[in-house]
Symmetry: C2
Subunit: 341 residues, 2 copies
Amino acid sequence: MSKVTLRYIAEKTGVHPSTVSRALDPARASLVHPGTRELVQTVADSLGYRPNALASGLRRGRTNTFGVVVVDLGNPFVAPVIRGIENNLESRGFMALIAETQDEPARLGRALDHLRSRKVDAIITTAARAGDEAVLRRVGRTIPTVLAVRHLAGSGLPAVTHDDTLGGRLAAEHLISVGCRRLAQLPGPVAISSFVDRGAGFGAAADRHGTPVLPAGDHGARPDIPEGERLMELLLAAGDEPPDGVFAHNDQMAIGALAALRRRGLRCPEDVRLIGYNDSPLTAYTAPPLSTIRLPGYELGRIAGEVAVSLIEDPTRTVPPLSLPPVLIPRASSTGLPAPQ
Amino acid sequence: MSKVTLRYIAEKTGVHPSTVSRALDPARASLVHPGTRELVQTVADSLGYRPNALASGLRRGRTNTFGVVVVDLGNPFVAPVIRGIENNLESRGFMALIAETQDEPARLGRALDHLRSRKVDAIITTAARAGDEAVLRRVGRTIPTVLAVRHLAGSGLPAVTHDDTLGGRLAAEHLISVGCRRLAQLPGPVAISSFVDRGAGFGAAADRHGTPVLPAGDHGARPDIPEGERLMELLLAAGDEPPDGVFAHNDQMAIGALAALRRRGLRCPEDVRLIGYNDSPLTAYTAPPLSTIRLPGYELGRIAGEVAVSLIEDPTRTVPPLSLPPVLIPRASSTGLPAPQ
DNA sequence: CAGCGCTGTGCAATGCTTTGCATTGCGTTG
DNA sequence: CAACGCAATGCAAAGCATTGCACAGCGCTG
């Protein structure tokens, strides 16, 4: 049983391979006689022919494949972004080649090499960190590359992000509006634009209201539950009067903070009001339900995909940075009110 | 600036392309003179040469790419599985082409077509449903295909699963051991082996102990939070005396059940003890913390990758079904005790 | 000096599809 | 009837890396 190739179909139908190629490509099917076309199509269908994407890609210089670089697939908030990218591009026959970096520069380098080798049509990365400028700029010269979620000033690459400055501001204004007078943050890593912006937005808004922000003991090395716990402990151990309103730079850290508060016998929200970031799936079900900032991840992914496609079609295009507004989701951890629902 | 190809390197170094090819392939580098090899390697490095994976794949019939088919990247428990697959295969130079089915048969078909077209070396699917037998068997004849997480009797494909029968049994025995005498289940879709096995294991264990299991009002259409809420409502509305121990077939449904109980003014665990399944990241932080069954997802992914590789190397091999034991994680929702930690 | 067994290289073919150009055949027009 | 246009198809090259085979060169041996 020989493999089903274009040539094989051509032999079966008695026409030339190029005619088969044309007959099967919707864009060029009009060039071939309706009768021939139908014959070719039925034979191809009955044999279960699938064009060899490698040969096709080699010939035309397009693979209909794009690379998606993420830090960690386990992070709940990357899923909607990928889905947004995927759903947008899937309808155009694209598939995603996924690479994880675990926030390690060496893995980013390897991932980009692999994607380059496989001739992806575009790359979307949600894993940019300070320090990645050079390698991303280099790859961006030959392959349309879009930054999603995290931007990176020195890279010169188009970016589609959440407006984290606004997110930080929303968090600050909310805590102030529910009566907090001594604020604090549990900050994420400084190499990542999202956290930098959240911190800056929060600080600026607090300043504008004349509300003090206690210095954070440290920056989160990885923005996860144990780190949130550790940073909250630091804050409580600082000797000063503890803060009455805390902004955790993501929900994981906020959940860690809840645990730390509980252990120290402090109540949330009575003693310390808390707000997280991302609106992860289960934050509505913690005790107390966690106030948070909701990000339009799916939409962001969709737009990043759109930008990537536009760059594939015209790589010279310059795309201005785009940022999507987040939304405050107040819940009991800051308001003290039971969830409305 | 012409593209950096094998031929280009060959011209620069003054040797034949085939020599360059050999010098750059660790497996055949020994065939070329050390001096030549080094010259070629330094020139290739300095030009940033990356072999064209399309041409390579076309020629050798191997792409070092595998397809991973999942239902939904947003589902928290698929992440560790993918990571297990990926981490295992990444070190061997493989990359993953990811496809989502959303549990829709048509999308599965399209996904498999795309993967076939792109000549992936192997396919790992975590999305098998009753009804998919024929299409999976067909693709499995030409591409090594491994079922992960969900098995499928009629497919004849090797499967690496969690032992969900055991998981169901653990749930039943645990509820019985903490004093429950009227059990019930919130079952997931019947087309998915995982849920069928959980239900069967639970039922069999309850029988063995002579403990009655109330009939479930319905099967979950999608095993998510709202469905859990709905099924729990059904159970409570059934008129009979309500159950005192409930096994939700996954954590999402358990969380939905918590909400339903709260709304009906029933306390958990005092009135109804509850256990979920999967040990999703945030179940430890719900109120009350949720008892659950922990699955070795990462390990499962790793092994599925292993099996896939062994099938790539020898497609005739038959691999016996493998299933990994889950672990009971008792928390306050069933024990009534505060979490130890 | 023929012959042997190596090693290192070169050569040409292969894998499959796409595409610009050439060709064929047919009908139309002046 | 010659010339022309047009639709449909065929032809061959291109895209890039890999690989079986051939060949040259080398140091020996009988």
